[in-house]
C-alpha cells in the first residue's frame, strides 16, 4: 500500500542518533547532585561473611555511606524471586533458596555483593570499596553439575537438599518405553551445552533518584522490560508502590535476555537514593558483567532415539541436568522446562517423547534466559541426534530428516506445543540449493587432495516465539501474563504517536512499527513516532524477549489501529456526507469509493479534536488503546547448512559457506530481519567454536574478561547467505512469527555437525576450539 509499508527494506529511523554519537544510554545521563555506587564483591565462590569493617572506608574523602546486607534486611527490602513455579515429578514445588540483594551472611558465587559504597565520584567510591575489610570463612564449593549432585556434596541452600531445585518431567514415560521396546535401532548421545555469557556491549547501569517531597522514585535502567521491572520492584521487593515508581529504559545497548531481570544493583541504587537523599548512579564494568549478568545454557544431557526398520522415529528419551548457578533468577525455572522440553519434537513426527530435567544449584553466577533460552539447547540436542543417527543408520542426513518431517498442520506434538503451520521441506530445499549440497562429495574429495578435512553439517530448527497466551503460561506456572499493550495517538495535525510496551534495544522497532502504520494509512514513516521504555508514558507492557515484539506487540498496535480507523471512518463519512461503509483509506486520505470525494487524515484528526462537527454522541479525540493476548505461540523454523574445512595439523576450522533458509512468516522489513539473523548466527557460531564460561574446581571464574572469554570477532565469521521461505502465521493478523533468536537456535548444531563430519569423529563438545578439535583428530 505504501512504499514504506510492509515488505520495504527502509533504512532505520533510529540510526541517525546512533551514528552521530547522540544515543542516550543510562551511563550518558547526569543528574544534579548525583552520587556513585561501587560494590564490594566476594572473591570466594562459597563463604560465610563473618564481619565487615567499613570504618576506614567511611573516613575517606567523598564517601557518603557504606551499607551492608543487614541494613537492607532491616529496611525490609525483599529477596529476589523466581517468577515461574515448576512442580517436580513427585508433586512437590520447586525449592527456591533465599537471595538477598546484598548477602548478609553467606556468599554463594564469586562476584556476589557484600557491601556497597556511595561516594561523590566513581573513583572515590572505587577507592573506598578497596578499604572495606571483609572477613570471610571459606566454605567448600560446588563448581559444576557433577559436583553438585554427588552424594555428600557441599549444600548451597537449606531449602534445597542435595542442591536439587526440581526433578521435573514432560511426556509419556510408559508410551516412550513401549516405543523403545519396538525399536529396530536405538541411537544414543551424551551432550554438554556449554555455559555462555550474554555480553551485551553496553554494561548494565542504573540511576535511582528519590524525590523526598513526592516520596517518588525514578529509576533509569538498562532493561528490556521496564514495566516488568516496576512490577517486580513494587510487588515483591518493597521498593515503592507502582504509582510512586517510574522506570525508564532509554537507549539500551543490547540485551539478549540478560537485561530482562531485575538485578540487586538496581534494588540497592533505589534503596540508597532514599537513604542518602541524592541520586545514585551505578555503572557496571565488563568484569562485573561477567560475574553478575545472568549466564545462559549449561546443560548436561543424555538422549536416546528409537527408530523402526524404515528409519522412522518411534520415540525420544532425554535426561537433562540444568545448572541454575547459585540462585534462581527471574525466569530461570522455565528455561530448561517449558522453553526446552516442549521443543524436543523439533521438525519431526515423534510419536512418544519423555524428557526429565533436574535443576541444580552450583556456586556459580545465576543462569537464566539467553538468546533462544531453552530452544537452542533443544535444537542442538535434536539436530546432533539426527546427524548421529544418519551416520549410524548409513543414510544421508537430509534424507533421514525429510523422512521424519511433520508435513500436515496443525500438528500436536507429544510435548504440549501445537504447531500451526510450516513447510520444513521447503526450507531444507532452499538451504541445500543455496549451498549446492549435491556436489559436496566432489568438493570434499578435492579438499582431501589438498590435505584439508572438509565437512558439511545440517541443522533444521523450530522454535516457539511470540510468548505467549497468558492463560496457557499461567496454567504452566508463570507468575505474569504475556500479552502486550499499545496506544495509538493521532495528533490534531495528523502525525501519529505509537506507545508500545515492547522495548527496542537494537531490534529497530522505531522503524518496523512505523512501517505498520505506513502500510495501513499510507503516510510516510517520518510522520510516525514510536514511544517506548518509560512507565510514565506507556500504559503497560511486558517487554521484549522471546522474539515476541512484532507478533505480540505489533499485533497490539494493529488492534489499536483498527479502533482508530473505525472512528476516523465515521468522522470522514460524516464530513463527506457519505456512508461509513463506502470509506476507504489510501495514501493518507479517506476516500468515498467510486467518487472523487476525499478528506485528508490531518483534516479528520483536526475534526476529531475541534469536535465542532462530529457525528452525534461521538467522543472527541482520536486515540485508542489495545491489550493483545496471543492465541498460540508462533513457530519460526528453518534449515541451516554449514560447510567448513579443518586443518588436521592445527585443528583450526575455516568456514567455506554458511547458508540459512528461514521461515518467519511475513517480513515487515527484510533488511532488519536479515540483520537479526546475522547476529543470531554469530552467537550460535560463537557458542559452537569460541565461547564458553569456565570455572575452576574452586568455583573461580577463569573466563571473566574479553581477554579470556572468546567473543566472536569479524575475522572469526563468514559472510552469510540468507534466504526465506514463507508460510504465514495464522495466529496473528500480520502473519508474522519472530526472527530474533533463530540464528542462535539453529547455528550451533550445523557447525558441530560439519566439524564431526570433517574429522569423522562424533565425540566433540562445544566450543570446538582448535585445541579440542586437534585432540579429537589425534586421539
Amino acid at each position: 500500500m505504501s512504499v514504506e509499508g510492509i515488505g520495504a527494506s527502509v533504512v532505520r529511523k533510529e540510526d541517525k542518533r546512533f551514528i552521530t554519537g547522540k544515543g542516550r544510554y543510562v551511563d550518558d545521563i547526569k543528574l544534579l547532585g548525583m552520587t556513585f555506587a561501587h560494590f564490594v564483591r566476594s572473591p570466594h565462590a562459597h563463604a560465610k561473611v563473618k564481619s565487615i569493617d567499613s570504618s576506614a572506608a567511611m573516613k575517606m574523602p567523598g564517601v557518603i555511606a557504606v551499607a551492608t546486607g543487614k541494613e537492607l534486611v532491616d529496611d525490609k527490602v525483599g529477596n529476589l524471586i523466581c517468577g515461574w513455579a515448576i512442580t517436580s515429578k513427585d508433586g512437590t514445588p520447586m525449592k527456591m533458596g533465599a537471595w538477598p540483594a546484598i548477602a548478609p551472611e553467606t556468599v554463594r558465587f564469586v562476584g556476589q555483593a557484600v557491601a556497597v559504597v556511595i561516594a561523590d565520584s566513581k573513583n572515590l567510591a572505587k577507592d573506598a570499596a578497596e578499604a572495606v575489610v571483609v572477613d570471610y570463612e571459606e566454605l567448600p564449593s560446588v563448581p559444576d553439575i557433577k559436583a553438585a549432585i554427588k552424594p555428600g556434596a557441599p549444600q548451597l541452600h537449606p531449602e534445597a537438599p542435595g542442591n536439587v531445585i526440581y526433578d521435573w518431567a514432560l511426556g509419556d514415560e510408559a508410551a516412550t518405553k513401549a516405543a523403545f521396546s519396538k525399536a529396530a535401532n536405538v541411537v544414543s548421545l551424551d551432550l554438554v551445552n556449554n555455559r555462555l555469557v550474554p555480553n551485551a556491549m553496553e554494561p548494565r547501569a542504573a540511576i535511582a533518584d528519590y524525590d523526598t517531597a513526592e516520596e517518588h522514585f525514578t529509576l533509569y535502567t538498562t532493561s528490556q522490560n521496564p514495566h516488568v521491572a516496576r512490577l517486580v520492584l513494587s510487588a515483591f521487593y518493597n521498593i515503592a508502590p507502582e504509582h510512586k515508581l517510574r522506570v525508564i529504559a532509554p537507549d539500551v545497548g543490547g540485551g539478549f535476555g540478560s537485561k530482562i531481570y531485575i538485578y540487586p544493583e538496581e534494588m540497592v541504587a533505589l534503596w540508597a537514593s532514599k537513604k542518602v537523599g541524592r541520586p545514585v548512579k551505578w555503572t557496571g564494568d565488563r568484569t562485573e558483567a561477567f560475574l553478575t549478568d545472568h549466564h545462559g545454557r549449561d546443560h548436561v544431557s543424555k538422549a536416546e532415539m528409537a527408530f523402526d526398520k524404515d528409519n522412522k522415529i518411534l520415540g525420544l528419551r532425554v535426561k537433562t541436568h540444568a545448572n541454575f548457578g547459585a540462585y534462581m533468577s527471574l525466569f530461570s525455572s522455565a528455561v530448561p522446562t517449558y522453553l526446552y522440553a516442549t521443543l524436543l519434537s523439533g521438525q519431526y513426527v515423534i510419536p512418544a517423547i519423555y524428557a526429565e530435567v533436574v535443576g541444580v544449584y552450583t556456586n556459580t553466577t545465576p543462569v537464566d534466559a539467553y538468546r533462544g533460552a531453552g530452544r537452542p539447547e533443544a535444537s542442538y540436542l535434536l539436530e546432533r541426534m539426527m546427524e548421529t543417527a544418519a551416520r549410524k543408520l548409513k543414510v544421508d542426513p537430509t534424507e533421514l530428516r525429510r523422512k521424519n518431517f511433520i508435513t500436515a498442520f496443525p500438528y500436536q506434538t507429544p510435548v504440549i506445543m501445537a504447531y500451526d503451520t510450516g513447510d520444513f521441506g521447503a526450507s531444507l530445499d532452499a538451504a541445500m540449493k543455496a549451498i549446492d549440497y549435491a556436489s559436496f562429495p566432489a568438493r570434499k574429495a578435492k579438499a582431501k587432495s589438498e590435505g584439508k578435512l572438509r565437512g558439511i553439517g545440517v541443522s533444521c530448527y523450530i522454535e516457539a516465539c511470540g510468548i505467549a497466551p497468558s492463560k496457557a503460561v499461567g496454567s504452566l506456572g508463570a507468575g505474569v501474563g504475556l500479552w502486550e499493550s499499545a496506544e495509538v495517538r493521532v495528533n490534531p495535525v495528523g502525525t501519529i504517536e505509537i506507545l508500545t510496551g515492547s522495548h527496542s534495544h537494537g531490534q529497530g522497532h522505531e522503524t518496523t512499527f512505523a512501517q505498520l502504520i505506513s502500510e495501513r494509512l499510507g503516510v510516510p514513516i517520518n510522520q510516525v513516532q514510536i514511544i517506548h521504555g518509560d512507565t510514565d508514558k506507556v500504559q503497560f507492557g511486558m517487554g521484549t524477549y522471546g522474539s515476541r515484539s512484532l507478533a505480540v506487540g505489533g499485533t497490539a498496535i494493529i488492534k489499536a489501529m483498527e479502533k482508530i480507523e473505525a472512528k476516523a471512518k465515521k468522522i470522514a463519512a460524516h464530513a463527506l456526507e457519505a456512508s461509513e461503509s463506502d470509506i476507504v483509506i489510501a495514501n493518507g486520505e479517506f476516500k468515498v469509493t467510486g467518487t472523487d470525494k476525499s478528506i485528508a487524515l490531518p483534516m479528520v484528526a483536526l475534526a476529531a479534536y475541534t469536535a465542532h462537527n462530529l457525528p452525534d454522541g461521538m467522543e472527541p479525540g482520536l486515540k485508542e488503546t489495545a491489550f493483545y493476548d496471543p492465541t498460540n505461540f508462533t513457530f519460526p523454523a528453518g534449515a541451516y547448512i554449514c560447510e567448513l574445512e579443518v586443518d588436521p595439523a592445527t585443528g583450526k576450522t575455516s568456514f567455506v559457506n554458511f547458508v540459512a533458509a528461514d521461515d518467519f512468516g511475513r517480513l515487515i522489513n527484510p533488511m532488519i530481519v536479515e540483520g537479526q539473523v546475522h547476529g543470531g548466527l554469530a552467537q550460535g557460531i560463537g557458542q559452537a567454536l569460541l565461547e564458553g564460561a569456565v570455572y575452576d574446581s574452586n568455583g573461580q571464574p577463569v573466563t571473566a574478561s574479553f581477554m579470556d572469554y572468546t567473543m566472536p570477532r569479524a575475522d572469526d565469521l563468514p559472510s552469510f547467505k540468507l534466504s526465506h521461505t514463507t508460510t504465514l502465521c495464522p495466529g496473528n493478523p500480520l502473519g508474522v512469527k519472530g526472527c530474533g533468536e533463530a540464528g542462535a537456535i539453529g547455528a550451533s548444531a550445523a557447525v558441530i555437525n560439519a566439524i564431526t563430519d570433517a574429522i569423522g569423529n562424533n565425540k566433540l563438545e562445544m566450543p570446538a576450539t582448535p585445541d579440542r578439535v586437534w585432540h579429537v583428530i589425534h586421539r
Binding site: 540510526d15 569479524a714 575475522d715
Partner: protein, 161 residues
C-alpha cells in the same frame, strides 16, 4: 589535579584532571561527549575508539594527560553540519548497526582502515582490521558491507575535494 589543553573536534579545550584520568573519561565525564562508549575494561572492545592526530586510538588506553596538545576527533566531530560522514551514511544505508553501542567506535576505526588501505580494501582485510572492535548484534556481516561501501564513497568524496 593538573590542567591540560588539547583540541577536540576542532575546538580548543582545557580541563583539570586527575593524573589517572583516561581520555575516555575526560571526553564522557568532563566534556559530556557521551558518543564515545565504554564496553570493557581490558582495551579489547573498541567502543571507545577516537582519532588522535588522525589515527584511530582506543581512548581507554590513553591517559588524558598523554593527549595534551593533540588533536582529538570523536564521533560527534566527523559530520559536516547536517552532512553525514560517508562512513556514517554507509553504516546507516547497509544496516551496519543495531543497538548502536559499538557503532561510534566501529565508525571511527573504519574511517582509519579506509584511510590506511585506500582503495585496496577487500572483505578479508576489513574483517582482519576490525579485530579490535567487538559487536554483539550484527554478526559483522553488514558492518563489513558498510566499510567496503564507504571506501568507495570516501574515494569519490576525496576526488571531489
Amino acid at each position: 589535579m593538573s590542567r591540560i589543553e588539547l583540541t577536540i573536534n576542532g575546538k580548543a579545550v582545557s580541563a583539570d584532571v586527575e593524573g589517572r584520568t583516561l581520555l575516555v573519561h575526560l571526553l564522557r565525564e568532563n566534556l559530556d561527549l557521551t558518543g564515545t562508549h565504554i564496553g570493557c575494561d581490558t582495551s579489547q572492545c573498541g567502543a571507545c575508539t577516537v582519532h588522535i592526530d588522525g589515527r584511530a586510538v582506543k581512548s581507554c588506553t590513553v591517559l588524558a594527560g598523554q593527549a595534551a596538545g593533540s588533536n582529538v576527533t570523536t564521533i560527534e566531530g566527523i559530520a559536516k553540519g547536517d552532512e553525514l560522514h560517508p562512513m556514517q551514511a554507509a553504516f546507516r544505508d547497509n544496516h551496519g548497526l543495531q543497538c548502536g553501542y559499538c557503532t561510534p567506535g566501529m565508525i571511527m576505526s573504519s574511517i582509519d582502515i579506509v584511510h590506511r588501505h585506500g582503495g585496496k580494501l577487500d572483505e578479508a582485510t576489513v574483517r582482519q582490521e576490525l579485530e579490535g572492535n567487538i559487536c554483539r548484534c550484527t554478526g559483522y556481516h553488514n558492518i563489513v558491507k558498510a566499510v567496503l561501501d564507504a571506501a568507495g564513497r570516501m574515494k569519490v568524496s576525496q576526488a571531489a575535494e
